[in-house]
C-alpha cells in the first residue's frame, strides 16, 4: 500500500483509509491512481500477449501455438494495448492528476463524472477480459468486415462491447477536461500562460469528444449485423465491407493522436524543465497541438489506399496526410531549439524526452513514407507499417509516459525513484525498442505481411533479431515497475519542487493536500518563467 512520505501532514493519500475511500473517491488525484493501476494491468497483459507472439515468430514454422491461438494473440495484444492502455494511459492517469493542478484548480469540473469514467473503463475492460478468458477473439484489433460480422467464430461481440463501453470513459474524460480548462483556471491563468501539457490535453479532449462517438456507432452497426443479420457491411446481405473501414478509421486515425498528443504535452514539460528554459516557440507548439487535432480528422482514407478506394480519393487523402506532418515537425524543431543555450540536466525524465524525440522523429518520418501512394501500395499490411506505428505508439507514447511518470513520481508519492536504476532502465528500453522494431522496417519492405503465423524461411534472421530486442525491452519495462514500488517505502523523501519546475503543481506540497492548494494560486507569469524559482540569470555557453 502507498505510504505517505510525511505522515504527520495530511495529504490526499492519508486523509482517509480503506477500500471504500478509494472506490468512492471523487478526488481527481486518487482517480488518477486508480487509472494508473488499471492501465498498468492492461499494459502487462498486452505485453504478455506480445511476448508469446515474439516467441512464436522465432521460427518460420508455427510450432509454439496453433494458428487459431496466434490470431487471437495478436488481436488481444492490439485490443489490450490500444483501447485499455494507450488511449487512457496519459490523459486518464497523468492528465487526471495534473491537469487541474497545473491550471490551479481544486479538482476537475465534474468529479463524479470523473469517477464514473473510471468505472466505465473497468466495466469495458472486464467485458474484454471476459472475452479473452472465455476463448479470445481473432479478428485483429481492426475488426474488418465481413470477417468479423459473418465468418469469425470467436468472442467478437463481447470484445466490441468492452470497447464500446470504455469509449464512453474516454468521451467523459474529454468532456471533463474541456470544461475544466474553460471554467476552472486560476486567476491570472490566461490561455497563453497555460503549460503546454494542458494545451495538448485540451486538443486531445476535442478528439475524444468528437471522434469516439463514431466508433460507438460503428460497433452498434457491427453488432446489428453479427447478431441480427441486418445487412450493413456484408455484401451477401446487401452491405459494403469497405464502409466499415471508413467508419473505423474515421475514429481510429484520430485515436492515434489521442495517444500521441498527451505524450507531446509531457515532452514539452520535460524539455523545458530540464533545460530550465521556456519551450522555444511556445505559441507555435500550442497551436500545433490544435492543428494536429483538427487535421487528424481529415486523413482516415490513407488506410484504404489498396482497399478499392477510388484513385482520386486516394490522391486527396495522401495530399492531406502530409499536412499533419507539418505541426509535428514544428514541435520536434522547437523542442530541439529549446536546448540551445539552456541548462541541460540529464535526469531520467529528460533521457526519456530525448528518447521520445528521437523515436518519434523516426516514426514520423516513416509516416511520410507510407503517406506516399506508390510506396504505400507495396508496404501496407506488412511489417513496415507495424514498425512505423510502434515507433509512434511505443517509441513515442510509452517513452513519454514513462518520462512523465518519473518526473511526477515525487509529486504523486512524495518519494524519489532511484536515479541510477532509472537511467539504466531508460537506456535498456531505448536500445531494446530499436532492436525490436527497426528490423521490422526491413522485414516489411522485403514483403513480410503482418498477421502471419507461418512465414517463409528467408525472413527468419530479422524475426530473431526482433525477438531478441523484445526480451531486452521486457527487462527494461519490468525494472521501473519494481523500483517504483520499492521507492514507495525506501525512496528519498522529495521536497515540494525537486526539479526547480515552474508549474503550479510544484507550488504545493508533495504529496499534495486533498484540495491541491492551501490558497488559490494567483498566476502572474508566463508558463516556464524559471526566474520565479531558481537562481541568478547567467549567460550560458
Amino acid at each position: 500500500m502507498i505510504t505517505a512520505a510525511v505522515p504527520e501532514r495530511e495529504n490526499y493519500l492519508n486523509h482517509a483509509y480503506g477500500i471504500k475511500s478509494w472506490l468512492l473517491t471523487k478526488d481527481h488525484k486518487r482517480i488518477g491512481l486508480l487509472y494508473l493501476f488499471t492501465v498498468t494491468l492492461f499494459f502487462f497483459l498486452g505485453g504478455a500477449f506480445a511476448t508469446l507472439i515474439r516467441i512464436e515468430l522465432l521460427t518460420p514454422q508455427g510450432n509454439f501455438v496453433s494458428s487459431e491461438t496466434y490470431n487471437k494473440l495478436f488481436t488481444m495484444h492490439g485490443v489490450a494495448m490500444i483501447f485499455f492502455f494507450l488511449i487512457p494511459a496519459i490523459p486518464a492517469t497523468l492528465g487526471n492528476f495534473f491537469l487541474p493542478m497545473m491550471i490551479g484548480a481544486r479538482d476537475l469540473a465534474f468529479p463524479r463524472i470523473n469517477l464514473l469514467s473510471w468505472y466505465l473503463l473497468v466495466i469495458g475492460g472486464l467485458f474484454s477480459l471476459f472475452a479473452m478468458l472465455a476463448g479470445g477473439v481473432d479478428t485483429g484489433w481492426t475488426f474488418y468486415t465481413p470477417y468479423s460480422t459473418t465468418y469469425s467464430n470467436s468472442w467478437v461481440i463481447a470484445t466490441a462491447l468492452g470497447i464500446f463501453i470504455s469509449g464512453f470513459s474516454s468521451i467523459l474524460t474529454g468532456l471533463n477536461f474541456i470544461v475544466t480548462v474553460h471554467r476552472m483556471r486560476a486567476p491570472g491563468m490566461t490561455w497563453m500562460r497555460m503549460p503546454l501539457f494542458v494545451w495538448s490535453h485540451y486538443a486531445t479532449a476535442l478528439i475524444q469528444v468528437l471522434g469516439t462517438p463514431v466508433i460507438a456507432v460503428t460497433i452498434i452497426l457491427l453488432f446489428c449485423e453479427r447478431v441480427f443479420h441486418i445487412g450493413i457491411f456484408d455484401p451477401t446481405l446487401g452491405g459494403d465491407p469497405v464502409l466499415f473501414q471508413h467508419m473505423f478509421w474515421f475514429y481510429s486515425h484520430p485515436a492515434v493522436y489521442i495517444m500521441v498528443l498527451p505524450a507531446m504535452g509531457i515532452v514539452s514539460e520535460l524539455v523545458s524543465v530540464f533545460s530550465r528554459k521556456p519551450v522555444f516557440g511556445y505559441q507555435f507548439v500550442a497551436y500545433a497541438s490544435m492543428a494536429i487535432a483538427v487535421l487528424g480528422f481529415l486523413v482516415w482514407g490513407h488506410h484504404l489506399f489498396v482497399a478499392t478506394e477510388s484513385v482520386y480519393s486516394a490522391l486527396v487523402f495522401s495530399f492531406l496526410s502530409y499536412f499533419v506532418a507539418i505541426p509535428s515537425a514544428i514541435k520536434v524543431f522547437n523542442w530541439t531549439a529549446t536546448l540551445y543555450k539552456g541548462s541541460i540536466s540529464f535526469a531520467t525524465p529528460m533521457l526519456y524526452a530525448f528518447g521520445f524525440i528521437g523515436l518519434f522523429t523516426i516514426g514520423g518520418l516513416t509516416g511520410l513514407f507510407v503517406a506516399a501512394l506508390g510506396f504505400d501500395v507495396h508496404v501496407t499490411d506488412t511489417y513496415f507499417v507495424v514498425a512505423h506505428f510502434h515507433y509512434i505508439m511505443v517509441g513515442g507514447t510509452i517513452m513519454a509516459y514513462l518520462g512523465g511518470l518519473h518526473y511526477w513520481w515525487p509529486k504523486i508519492t512524495g518519494r524519489m525513484y532511484p536515479e541510477g536504476w532509472a537511467k539504466l532502465s531508460a537506456l535498456i528500453i531505448f536500445l531494446g525498442f530499436n532492436l525490436t522494431f527497426f528490423p521490422q522496417f526491413i522485414l516489411g519492405y522485403l514483403g513480410m505481411p503482418r498477421r502471419y503465423h507461418v512465414y517463409p524461411d528467408e525472413f527468419q534472421v530479422l524475426h530473431v533479431l526482433s525477438t531478441a530486442g523484445a526480451s531486452v525491452l521486457a527487462v527494461g519495462y519490468l525494472m521501473p515497475m519494481i523500483y517504483f514500488i520499492w521507492s514507495l517505502r525506501y525512496g528519498k523523501v522529495a521536497g515540494a519542487n525537486p526539479w526547480g519546475a515552474t508549474g503550479l503543481e510544484w507550488r504545493t506540497a508533495s504529496p499534495p493536500p486533498v484540495h491541491n492548494f492551501d490558497v488559490t494560486p494567483i498566476v502572474t507569469h508566463e508558463a516556464y518563467d524559471y526566474s520565479t524559482v531558481v537562481g541568478q540569470e547567467v549567460e550560458v555557453g
Partner: protein, 320 residues
Amino acid sequence: MGKFPLIPEQASTFAPDVDHLTYFLLAVAVFFTVLIFCSIFYLAIRYRRRSDTELPHVPHGGMALEIVWSVIPFGITMVMFTWGAGVFFKESRPPDNAMPLYVVAKQWMWKIEHMEGQREINELHIPLGRAVRLTMASEDVIHSFYVPAFRVKQDVVPGKYSTIWFQPTKPGKYHLFCAEFCGTRHSGMIGWIYVMEPQDYQRWLSGGSFEGTLSESGEKLFTNLACSNCHKADGTGRCPSLEGLFGKTVQLANGAKVVADAAYIRESILHPAAKIVAGYQPVMPTFQGLVTEDGVLQLIEYIKSLGPKPIVGGGGALGK
C-alpha cells in the same frame, strides 16, 4: 543479391519506380534523423548544467526560424506526394493490350483462371514482358493480392471486382501473399508467381487438361442454369437479349443509363432487381448461392463473346 538482401527482387516495371521513390524518402529521412539526433547530442552536451543555480538567458522567439522549418519540410513533403502519386497513377492504369486473367480468392486459396481455360490454384504462370491485368473477386472475406517482387498489392473485396496489373521483367519464381487478414489460415494463403519466357509459357499453355476456354465454360453454364429460356438471342424472350450487350449503354426502367460492364453483369446475376432494363418486368430470380464467383466470371466472358466488339482495356470498365 547477397544473402541478406535489404530490398526484395525487382521483377516488374513498377519495382524500380517504387525503389527510386524509396531511396528519395530514405534520403530525406536519414538527413532529418541525423540532423535531429546530432543537434540533440551536441546541444545537450554543449549546454549541460554546470551549476544547480544557473538560470539561462531567455532568447526571444524566432518567427523567421518557425517559418523556415515549416515551409521547407512542407515543400519536401509535396515532392513526396507528387512522386508517390505519379507511381500510383501508373499502377492504377492498365494498358489496353494487357493480357486479362481472372482471380477468385477464398479462405484460404487463390484460384486463377486463364482465358484459354487453364485453371491454377495458388500458382500463376505468366509470360515475361507482357502486361497482365487481373480481375479479382472474393467468395467470402476481404483478401489482398500481394507480390512483393512486383511491388503491387490490391485488396480483393467480396461483392465487387477489383483490378491489378503488372508487367514482369525477369523470369523466375516469386511469392504471392495474401496481405489482408482473412481468418485462421491467413498465413497459408500463399502461392507462387512463375514468370516464364514466352515460348515456355506457350508450351505451358498447351499442356495440362483442357476443359474449354472460359467463355465456352460460360456458355455451358448459361445453358445449365437455363438462362437461355428467357434471354433469347432474338429478343423474343421475357428478358432482354444479351447479343452485343457487353460494353453497350443500357436504358433502365427508372430512366437512368448504365454501361454494361463486368460489375453490371455481376450485379444483374446476383441482384437482378437492382437495375431493371426499360421495357422489361423484374421477373428474374437471384442466382446468389446458385452460381460461384468463378461461374459469374465465366458467364461474363460468355456474354462478352456474344458481343460484336468486346470493349478493350482502360481498366475503367471494370472499375478500380
